[in-house]
Symmetry: C2
Subunit: 143 residues, 2 copies
Amino acid sequence: MFSKTCEYAIRALIFIAQKTNEGNRIGIKEIAKGIDSPEHFIAKILQELSRKGVVQSAKGPNGGFYLDRDSMNQSLADVIRAVDGDKIFNGCGLGLRQCSEIQPCPIHHDFKKVRTALRQMLEEAKVGTFTEALENSLAFLKR
Amino acid sequence: MFSKTCEYAIRALIFIAQKTNEGNRIGIKEIAKGIDSPEHFIAKILQELSRKGVVQSAKGPNGGFYLDRDSMNQSLADVIRAVDGDKIFNGCGLGLRQCSEIQPCPIHHDFKKVRTALRQMLEEAKVGTFTEALENSLAFLKR
DNA sequence: AAAATAAAGGAGATTGTTATCCTTTATTCA
DNA sequence: TGAATAAAGGATAACAATCTCCTTTATTTT
């Protein structure tokens, strides 16, 4: 569904949100461990997301990644758009560039409903709202 | 959403279904033109699908690809499973192998609803049922 | 100011997907 | 039987996604 890059990004942001809610910045090594991802790879991904303002970072001792209020209120859809673009929300299911309401592919209309449901769900899911479920072991980010 | 291989495969099968309904077998070159795909690549894909029984073929003059009754009644979900496997229907949205009802990722439950809707839609869409829409220019397979 | 820390950045390796080419096999038709 | 046709199969090229390593820059602490 999403690229691996995007999966790691979402997991990392939810993890960082949790640490931010606890009042801490968090380093790359701990993030990689916390979400079971390749350390250097998630570093690259967060570097890019930091540049885009999707996540905040601080260098030096006691530095690390964290989320400001805006970032905490971002939706998963925002994160996905930053990483994978919006083809998952708008692209044709059969890969036709010209596909549209006027010139639909055979599954355009049905597919649109599903995509819309997906988008709504991801727009409503804010990065900062998973902390509680994670704390109470009602959700997991590893493996 | 799906791999390019899968997108081409679905478009090709719907196209072949149309030709079969007209009573003809159809060659690779015409398929590639008809669905606007790389000729050699769709040849490879259909070769594989032919081996799996998803599409039928005949060699030699007047040969080409066609669909028998079973293949005509296949769902798009069947085609997708043959090409991409079932990770799109079962896989975790965040790429966690261990994700399940008991050990869910943070978006597991919401995600499941969307995946289920997607699957139902694709199970109901049979390869052979798009001919009419294509004939009446209510749907397109190119570009 | 120097040392230590941690992210940023650049460059490259690995792997998987997408795409192409050429040869072989099966079938039809003359 | 021989020529033509069309898919099957094998090998490989091109490209993108994934992943790793090393150096640089910014910041803090002593």
